[in-house]
Amino acid sequence: MSDNKIIFAGPPGVGVTTAIKAISDIPPEIKKKKLVDDKGNTTTIEMDYGILKLDSGDQIYLYGAPERAKLEHVRETLKQGCIGLVLLINNAEKDPVGTMLQYMEDCQFLVEKKGMAVGLTRYEDSPLPDINDFHIALREKKHNIPVFSVDGHEKNDIITIIRAMLYNLDSGVN
């Protein structure tokens, strides 16, 4: 039995939950993980969680990554079986290109040898920076990954970005 996952990440409010909801075959749930530090203080990390059911009987788990500061604590949970990362960035916020690069650095353990795609939300309302600016920044880091404008509510947008991510991993897929 596999535990293949697609991870959705992005700043709070960007639409991670909505994106998971758009394609999940179950109502999205919250997955909780308790952490206890060496002083006995507990912290709970919450992650959105959904399932994409395949005709083959397999399931693809859809995880919403927690905020950046807590990523390291769930590193292994996210990394195990990860197919790829869909990073959602709000183009209306200040310095979205910088936010994308910071997330990529924090999610390096997911980016390396995995698939990745970037979805820009609110791009139509705030078309600057231009989508080309994201590509230029990515090329400087030697990444050649899909960057699309998306609306998290639009199922087709989320499907398109996942398909692009998979083709980027293997363009021989039919």
Partner: protein
Amino acid sequence: MAKSKFTISLLGFDQRSADMLGEATRRTMQIVDPISKDDTQVVVVDIDGPEGMAIWENFRQQWPHMPAVVTSENEPNINQVSFAEKPFTVEALIDNITEAMILAPAAEEEPEEISVAPTETATEEGASLTPEPDSEPALEEITENVGESLPAFDRASEAITDTAQLEEISPESSMDTPDELSLETIADDTDESLPPLGEATPAITAAEEVTNEETDEAVTETEPGEPETELETTTAESKDMEDDTFEAPAPDKAMPPLSQIAGILSSHTSSNSDSTIRKLDTPNPDENYFDPDAHIIGLVLKGITEGEETGAIAKLACLLDRTIYVDASNKRVCSNLKDIHMRQIAIAPLGKGENGLDTQLEMIESKSLEELAGLDGSMYPMESFVWELAVLTSKGRAPKGTPMDEPTYLMQWPNFTRLSVVPYAMKVAAYWLRLPSSLYDLSENLDVPLCDILSLYSAASLTGLAGTAKRNSDRMLRPGKPEKHEKRNLFGSIMGSLKKNN
């Protein structure tokens, strides 16, 4: 750590060529820089640069026993080295690497690392192009030694053949079921299941161990059978398999790692390797082309160019009361054209004849697009509008003058969520971005009808995203079938499910 990739080092390659080679071979090879006695299995040397031969001589002097592949547009006069003539395919390079391992003599002590500062040393020390007879045994002798010291190369070859046959008989067979796990799958899973040594702080790591158990019991949201629970099972399986996983030996120059080669070749073999060429079989090759300047898209592009230079808005009156306004400065288009009109005006030739489109380009200054267009127009991103117009005009043809058999490039991913659909567009884009390819090669290697390739090229080139590749590095690799990911079948299942939901 278990490995299933060739580890190669590159010498004499410019950065772009090295990046391109790294991308194209990412599933079968790992590039090691600089050359390392322990990690490099084969060095690939490009001798086409101005100091190419000096780089080769310097390398051979410092690493007389290191397996090497020399690549060039013309075969050099170098003995006992595997030669890869440019352009080469990834498959051909794998053959060369295998050959280089066989040709290489037994290992002796060599420097730990080499920094690439080739020319002066080679010239000063006068390195010879031809290896010393004493230090480099003849080909027959090497082959014989290899045959004796190896557990039967023939058996490995048979294994490769069997694997290929299996895939041919059962192309749909899943690589993801446990019985058919590929070497790479096992290796990768094993990597992923290993604990993150030194990556988390000790306090947090300890806390996670404790609360993982708590989470399963205390947090009801986690259901049995979900990944958290499976994690342990998967890890255990992976560890069991780890013992059987091929461990790539430290590079032994006299012994090619045949099981590794078999594994890589097996995972590399495409299940649809006998795809047919889909060139358009038209009696008149001109039918593969259209002239953008003979259609309204030519005027739109001209309006964009002038608008970018002057800031003016382009106006094109198309059919009676139908108008296109193009604001190049703000990358927007406003038009009251309906879909059916778009199709009509896209294919109609410009001119005053019966079927002609009598449209003139007019540049208008100092007014906003909203003010010009009034209330009955719809706004479009300029790229989306031009893309759609190009696809409609193209009708499976390429812009006039496009070389069909010369490499072309795609600069970046088009914004496919906002562009009209071209069949296979994302599949082609993913491949094309990594490797400049001719339009014929794209069609052949991806098994996509040429008319769809030409439609995509038309849209991408007329929106400025694609063009003819002219750099030398773009001609180094000959495109082949896409490298096969170990989870290709799983990806196919995901695609299928997503398509049904679309």
